[in-house]
Symmetry: C2
Subunit: 306 residues, 2 copies
């Protein structure tokens, strides 16, 4: 594993994937084949100007701007997001008993929050989310036995959480928001005085959660919903609003969900707990873990607290 | 399955893969990361000018020309090809008993020739070729029971072969050539008077077989080795020499090995037997089969003979 803080830059292996994502996005936006081709050509024209020192969400932002430009749709993933929220809300009642039966509620809530990241796959690939969730959560025991595993630093997280008066929680995708709600509700149950700020994107970008998704997921009942001020599919501090940055640096604890936020913040100079499902081989390789791993990473490596 | 003859054009899904192939080729050529990036940028610049009405091997040719231009290497896959030949030659003695024990020698020879297509994977991914071959060939019985399966039209092939005085055999990759040798030797054993012309590429392109590979594989003892006159990674008739075209149209039977030749010739106006392992989802979808299938396709669909 590399030394932190080094931001995750774009790898050459990300480039074929940019085209794959662009094609997928154009199709999801209902573009005809001619428009799909136009999107790919535009990405090709943008590529030589793109610095690999930038992080993948920056190129992701460019790609999805090109999709929007060519399709004329401001929010191509709107239907996907709504479907994700509905799907996750339909799963929610089944998750609560799981939490209530757990002898380590916080751990279960953390795992559920991380695994909620598969919702977007489910919606796109008509996957059976129940089955997939069950499959991932069946590894639970392995994780419990390794609460201080290098890639699942739960004890540090638990301690940091116990001392935090303010928690900044960076959301990832719509739908996953419902799973975040479970963790947030558990945090609030443990410490009713804790202030939790739930951060969503300012404008539509891929299937990232917006204010509406957070509200639809019921998060507004427990946390304050806030915008990052940015439309990058990951937290790129230079693109965030001053208001966000102020809270980001002042919060006692930052929980960062998903790969995009990890990519954007892996080089940040403050402590962050990264919670994500390692879905991409390049990210897994960068973090030093395996694809499919349920990750809880204390950053910087030698000090999980601020 | 679509109506033939319609050439397999380039699908939008091929585009991300072009970048993947370019990166892989640049790395195999030993390019440093800066040069790898330069190759990808050059492919990006070439993309908007590329017609999707062209077949994938045409873009493949462009990509590998860009790799050669940027790396200064005329044959980046030379080591891979030599390793493939050696690997296949080391497997060859184990394949002969398989043939001798078979109660349908021609069928076994055909299957071996097709499955030899995995050699390039083996070399690239340090795969155990013995094990992989065994895995594929263990499906043998299934194939034998379906000799007239839509995607394995063995009976038509056998009949066409029995009447053919001249056979044009279009090679695919180095290493695979050794597996072709098994089929060619079996054809010659069945009909010593049959003239077999084994066609390789004119100049280095990816790991496609050249004259040297055919000779190193021992094919010159049984067949006449001939060049297509082209350096596309698949038979694109418009790029082939007149000498090749004359033989191509006059031969009683054409055996076309591999995906690249299928992509180039799927719209041809003469009869061809396509033998390939379906390795790519786009090609599998185009042909109407599944990834991993061992394919023997009589073209045109309604008439496997000339």
């Amino acid at each position: 594993m590399k030394e932190y803080p080094i931001p995750m830059r774009t790898y050459l292996d990300c480039i074929p994937c940019f085209f794959k994502q662009a094609l997928e996005a154009a199709r999801l936006a209902g573009a005809d084949p001619r428009t799909q081709r136009q999107v790919l050509d535009d990405v090709a024209r943008a590529l030589p100007k793109f610095s690999l020192e930038a992080t993948p969400p920056e190129m992701g932002r460019t790609i999805h701007q090109l999709v929007k430009k060519n399709t004329g749709l401001s929010d191509p993933y709107l239907a996907i997001k709504e479907k994700s929220n509905q799907l996750a809300l339909s799963v929610y009642p089944k998750l609560i008993p799981k939490l209530n039966q757990s002898d380590n509620r916080l751990l279960t809530a953390v795992e559920l929050a991380i695994t909620g990241n598969i919702i977007d796959y489910g919606v796109k690939n008509s996957m059976n989310v129940d089955t997939e969730l069950e499959k991932i959560l069946s590894n639970e025991k392995k994780i419990i036995k390794n609460e201080d595993h290098r890639f699942f630093q739960f004890t540090r997280f638990k301690e940091a959480l116990a001392h935090a008066k303010t928690v900044l929680y960076l959301a990832d995708n719509a739908g996953e928001t419902v799973f975040d709600r479970i963790l947030i509700e558990e945090m609030k149950r443990m410490n009713p005085a804790q202030e939790i700020i739930y951060v969503v994107k300012e404008k539509p970008i891929i299937n990232d959660a917006l204010i509406k998704d957070a509200v639809d997921s019921g998060i507004d009942e427990t946390a304050r919903i806030f915008s990052s001020g940015s439309d990058a599919p990951g937290t790129i501090l230079s693109l965030c609003s001053d208001a966000f940055l102020k809270i980001y640096y002042q919060a006692d604890l930052v929980i960062s969900k998903g790969q995009g936020n990890f990519e954007g913040l892996s080089g940040t100079n403050r402590s962050v707990f990264f919670l994500f499902l390692a879905k991409c081989p390049v990210i897994a390789n960068d973090a030093g873990c395996q694809v499919g791993d349920v990750i809880l990473l204390a950053h910087p490596e030698n000090n999980g607290e601020k």
